[in-house]
Every structure is written in C-alpha cells, then in structure tokens.
Symmetry: C2
DNA sequence: GCAAAAACTGACTGTCCAATCAGTCATACT
DNA sequence: AGTATGACTGATTGGACAGTCAGTTTTTGC
C-alpha cells in the first residue's frame, strides 16, 4: 500500500481509539513501520493529518449513504426512516472508528477555530440530518408519518440513534439488544394513526 | 476556599473543557494560583485527581436527582418521564461541565482498566437509567404509559436525551429549540392510547 | 509558648513528543 | 548516462510535562 494511505489508515485508528492528544506521531510511525519524518513529509503537522483523516471519514460517510440509497427501495417514508436507522447501526458496527472519532470532543473543539474542520463536520451532520429529514418528508407526503416538523424531528431521531451508538461504543450497554425496541418506539413516535 | 477544593473545582472545569490529555498540571496550578507541587501533595497522580473529580460529579448528580424528587410531585408516570427529561436538560445547562466530562472518551477508556472509575460511571448511568425506569413502571401501573419493557425503553429514552445534550454541548445545534418537539415525541412514543 | 503534624512550595529531573533538516534513495524523463 | 524531481529517513532539537524532593510555613493540640 501507498505509504500516505497507510499513515491515514493508522491515523484514523489511533485518533479514534486514543484521541488527538493521546496519539503520538512516533507511535503512528512504529505502528506503520514508516519513519517518523516521512509522516511530516506527507502531512505538514499533526493537525494536518487529523484534518486529512476527518476528510476521509466524511467522504466515506457520504459514499456509504449514496451506495445504500442506490441499492434500496422503500414502501413509504416510515419504512425509509426504519431503513436509515438500521443502516446507521450497521455502519456503526462496521465502521466503528468513524463513530469513535465523531464521538470524541476534539473535532468540535478544533471546529471552533478551524473552518476546514468545521466544514467537514457540517457536511457530515447535514448528511445525517438530511437522510432522516427526506424520509420524514416523504412519509408526510405518502401519509405514513403524521404531521410533524420534518427538520426538528429529524434532529431528534438522529440524536436518539447517535445516543444509542455512543452508549454502545462506550461499552455502557449493547445497542444490538435494543434494536427491536428502538425501531418499535421510533415507529410509534412517527406513524400516522389515521392510516 | 480550601485549596484542595479549589484544585477539584478547577480540575473539573479543565478536564471537562480540554480532556485528560489536554489538561496540564502546571496549567491547573497557574489557574488556581497554587504551586504545582501542592496539587501532588493532595492528589498522588494526575489520574488520582481525575478520579476525585469524577467522584464529585457522581455525588453531585445523585444529590441533584434526590433534591429534584424530594421537591416534585407528578400526576402520573408519563408526567414523571416528562419531568425527568426537563430536569436533565435543566441540569445540562446548569452543570454543563458534568456532561462535557461524561461525553468525553477518556472516562470510558479508563473504566476498562480501573475498577474505581468503572464503579463511578456505573453509579451515574444506573442513576440515569433508573429514574426513567421508575417513571415508566409507574406509568404502566397507572395506565398513562402503554405496555412496553421498562428497562429497555428507559435506556432508549436516556440515549435520546443524552444525544440531544451532546449535540448541544458540541454546539452542533441548540437543544432549547428542540425542547417542545422532544417532549411531544416522547409523549407519543410512550403514552397509552387506550386512555 | 512550644512541639509535632499537616500544608505548602521552588527548584529540579528524566521522559516524551512534535517538528526540523540535511542528506540519501528511487523513479522518470531526456 | 545524466539529471531533475519526488519519496523517504536518521539524527537531532527545544519545549512541555508529570512527578519528586528537600525544605519552609501554617495549623493544631497541649
């Protein structure tokens, strides 16, 4: 593999597991078998590397959702919400390091002073909120979801799913065991009783 | 103020804002006007200080809920759930540093190897889950909440509230603006339609 | 008032780490 | 074959940091 990609790969893993402050460049060098100075040849500073990692995560998330929607069909909006929730939980299991990274505090601190970082985070969370919002709008149009504000409701559903994923990655309890309940509660929260 | 308490106070603030790795003992010393060595007189290591801070947070949370329940009366279980959610959000505004600390990754990493830390976190999250679970059980008994598993539902409601708080402390969007929607969605999720 | 204990401190140490730099190696083009 | 460009590296540097220690000041008990 390309050394630059190897650094990004190891960087994603380390930043996700140990955070920005907890990761040392020499550790990263040792892990990849690449000389320390080589990392600084490809990435000017540690922060630059972090931003490159975050950009990759952003691209990965956008691509994943694109592929998911390209391959999926839904009966109605409510089923689309349920599908998106399942996909979120699938992704959280499959790409745990993405969510570990996003559940750390450092990206948000950095975003306060670094517009590039802020930009990446905005794209990621806009994507997250958007997929739910689109599903809710569709559900309202087809009558499967009752008359509720799409954007705000999308943010709350996102918070809920994100909260469950965080509790799982923190090993506080198992999200898998809650899957069925989560779906049922979401359905009850959104569904149109008149239909 | 007692120097030990001043150290704990500043420690809570710094660990919450900058994390364990991002906080330096000399910074803490400078902030409090206390000599660096004095901190190590009261707390053997940086980790010891962190545990003491977490213990204080734990005690504060338990005390807050005790006081809240001592001062509150609820018509039924569903209203109790709503009251608890409001109180959570109130606390998240009032004691932001507690939630910043709990939304960091370090405590959970430390908990994997340090049983004292694990103990504190368990007490905190058991408290959180318990208050919701009690409310749901009461609601099921008085008929205001439909027939759903109390513990699992409590965990999901907790995830949702915790998720909203996290999004707020990360400055991704404002929890206040979602308050009304959150309450309405929760009510819809739990309420017993037969009543 | 005094002795013992507790609280506190300045100066220091060894370690670790981000970043630099001068220079080597591989590749591509002429 | 020669050279220019990009990829890579070992050795080093300067600063920051957790933790120590020997000694001073303050508090406590009598």
């Amino acid at each position: 593999m390309n050394k630059k990609d190897a650094i990004l790969l190891a960087g994603t893993k380390l930043f996700a597991e140990k955070g920005f402050g907890g990761t040392s460049m020499s550790e990263l060098a040792e892990m990849t078998g690449i000389a320390g100075a080589t990392i600084f040849y490809h990435f000017k500073t540690k922060e630059d590397l972090f931003l490159a990692v975050l950009e990759q995560v952003k691209d990965g998330i956008l691509k994943s959702f694109d592929e998911y929607f390209a391959a999926s069909r839904f009966e109605n909006g409510l089923e689309m919400v349920e599908g998106v929730i399942s996909f979120f939980l699938f992704m959280a299991g499959h790409k745990e390091e993405w969510f570990l990274l996003l559940h750390r505090n450092h990206p948000y601190r950095l975003a306060e002073v670094n517009p590039i970082c802020r930009g990446y985070l905005e794209v990621i969370y806009n994507c997250f909120a958007d997929v739910f919002e689109r599903a809710i709008r569709r559900g309202r149009a087809d009558g499967s979801i009752r008359d509720i504000p799409a954007h705000k409701t999308a943010l709350i559903v996102l918070s809920m799913v994100d909260g469950v994923i965080r509790f799982k990655t923190c090993q506080l309890y198992d999200a898998g065991a809650l899957f069925g309940n989560l779906m049922e509660l979401c359905r009850r929260m959104l569904e149109n009783p008149e239909k």
